[in-house]
Amino acid sequence: MGPLINPQQIINGLQLGSIYALIALGYTMVYGIVRLINFAHGDFFMIGAYAAYAAFFAFNAMVAGRTGTLAFIVLVIAMATSASVAWLANKLAYKPLRYKPKLSSLITAIGVSMFIEYFFSAFPAIGASYRAFPEIIPRRDIHIGPAVVSNLVLIDLAVAAILMIGLTLLVRRTTLGKAMRAVSQDKDAARLMGIDIEMVISFTFLIGGAFAGAAGLLAGMTYPRIFPYMGILPGLKAFIAAVLGGIGNIPGAMLGAYIMGIAETFASAYNSLIGEGIAFAILILVLLIRPTGLLGEKIADKI
């Protein structure tokens, strides 16, 4: 077996891709609906990790030993907290600028991102230092041939898959999903049809935030070290994944994220520095060769 192409590396890549996918979905949904690249999205991911951290210590004693229940409570709290922050960011920062030039919202998004990061670092209860993320679910190893899969990997993959299937059903099968699609296609026409656009936008931020929160919990469990700036790099890479898949396109974001995860793993195995830079190489290539991304449609103007 070659040193690079081996099943273990594919598993590593899928695990990384799952976390990217959950973040990338928020980027792509918000872009699809309001044409805004929400650079604060990586920070919603960070907030999810901190909410999970707090929830673990709040409920650990209460449910004593029932790991499954605890994990579920922690997941719900992480998702709810990030969703609320995303909703709040939309209400306070993005909504007032909705019909202003797009550049204003984009710069505001960068401002929101920095505000969250520095506010968290300066906040005494959180602080700028690293924190060790607790072991919510004890690790067990499952050997499959030459590859080792820990239960954490399976949890990462499963949670991401369940959430993505849920989202797909929501967008395709429900009235709300139909409204979301309508708004993303033509805001003015949607309003004429009686759709409450602001409600749809708020809802999109809620879902995007919730997914980022779930990703925060998964990242905390997989890489048990959290800090206020932990969202920057994964956020950036997930954004690139969304661009790779075609920004605004939901299946595209998932596909892009898994491609990114696997590409990064293989590149890192070849050479660490190439692994670190591959995401940005992909971004440049996509923008040069196929700016609409793999599954994206042609849009007249982009930021």
Partner: protein
């Protein structure tokens, strides 16, 4: 009116001669990626200063005023606080800082201003080579890497070793290279030698590649934060063998992040609180009473570094930079981390200990002499 001005001026002169404190700058990363290092360092320095002040000061009844600054583990921030301490606060000497990459940014500033500096824990070789005002209280990277390799080869009986290190950090690169040199010199084989980018959280690609080379032991000379993550991921990938590292492991957070993954882990260190020498036990007792925690090597070395500096100022009998520097050179002092004398490159000649992680606790294993 004239009289009162005269009296005031006289008073000012008197206070200058008699009551003026000796200002010493202290630096450590109290926040950021190595925060526990910074907190221990600050504690150690403060304890040493309090002891000297309780004894009646350094010389001529002059007490020490410690001005402590946070470098956040960042070289740019470090350069700023070094400059601030020298230009703005007018310190006569600096004790700091912890991480080699930050010290390397600050040392040239001290050298240029003629301010004697002693780093408690910067183990990178280049630090004291900056100039003749720069000293350190700890041993250097080649020695740690060499001791790590000796231990892996002789005690752990490893014949195939792998190393993973931070590409953006001189300290971890230095240790890894010296480990490799010594391990191969002993007759062992280094089967994989992988760098990782700074700030990475996912190391699985590199670790999977390392494990394919089937090492007996993996050398991880990173800081505790990364070590915890790497250990966890390498165990997840099925590696059960020993992990060896350097003094960057020395933090209570190592076990918090790494959990059971850091069991069967060993690291080279400057001191162990289980050392039975009276000076060590006395230090441990006083530190515990003051801060309610076991002192780690960072605390011990910061305490030592401050002692070495204040001892030199006492012997110099002045706060002139060049005089303090000359006094530092002739240091021969028994401190917590051993007996300290400086070699021609202003590095101390002293022993190292090996610490093992057993049931989540660091346990003293053996002492290795230079």
């Amino acid at each position: 009116m004239k009289k009162s001005i005269l009296v005031l001026a006289l008073l000012a002169c008197v206070s200058l001669v008699f009551a003026q404190d000796i200002k010493i700058g202290g630096i450590g990363p109290v926040t950021g990626e190595a925060a526990t290092f910074g907190i221990s360092t600050k504690n150690g320095m403060m304890m040493a200063v309090e002891e000297w002040n309780a004894k009646g000061g350094v010389f001529g009844g002059r007490k020490v005023k410690l001005i402590f600054e946070d470098d956040k583990g960042d070289p740019a921030e470090g350069a700023t606080v070094y400059t601030k301490l020298i230009q703005q606060d007018g310190v006569v000497a600096i004790v700091g800082t912890v991480m080699s990459k930050v010290t390397l940014a600050g040392a040239p500033i001290c050298q240029a201003n003629g301010i004697p500096m002693i780093s408690p824990t910067s183990t990178n070789e280049k630090v004291t080579l900056v100039g003749d005002y720069i000293f350190r209280a700890c041993f250097i990277d080649p020695f740690q890497g060499t001791v790590g390799a000796n231990f892996a080869y002789n005690d752990l009986k490893a014949r195939a070793a792998a190393a993973i290190f931070d590409l953006g950090n001189d300290y971890t690169k230095g240790l890894a290279e010296n480990f490799k040199k010594q391990f191969e010199k002993l007759g062992g084989k280094v089967v994989a030698f992988e760098g990782h980018p700074s700030g990475a959280t996912d190391f699985k690609a590199q670790l999977t590649k390392i494990l394919q080379a089937k090492p007996d032991v993996i050398y991880i000379p990173d800081y505790y934060n990364d070590v915890g993550l790497i250990a966890k991921q390498v165990r997840e990938l099925g590696f059960k063998g020993p992990l060896v590292g350097g003094d960057g492991w020395d933090s209570p957070d190592l076990v918090k992040i790494g959990g059971t993954a850091v069991e069967n882990g060993f690291f080279t260190n400057h001191y162990s609180s289980e050392d039975t020498r009276p000076i060590v036990q006395d230090f441990v007792k006083k530190y515990k009473a003051k801060y309610g925690a076991e002192p780690d090597a960072l605390a011990a070395l910061a305490y030592d570094a401050m002692y070495i500096m204040l001892d030199a100022i006492r012997r110099a009998g002045t706060t002139k930079g060049s005089a303090i520097r000359d006094a530092l050179k002739t240091t021969d002092l028994n401190v917590v981390s051993g007996r300290v004398k400086f070699d021609e490159n202003r590095n101390p000649i002293k022993s190292a200990v090996i610490i093992e992680i057993k049931n989540g606790k660091p346990v003293y294993r053996t002492t290795v002499n230079p």
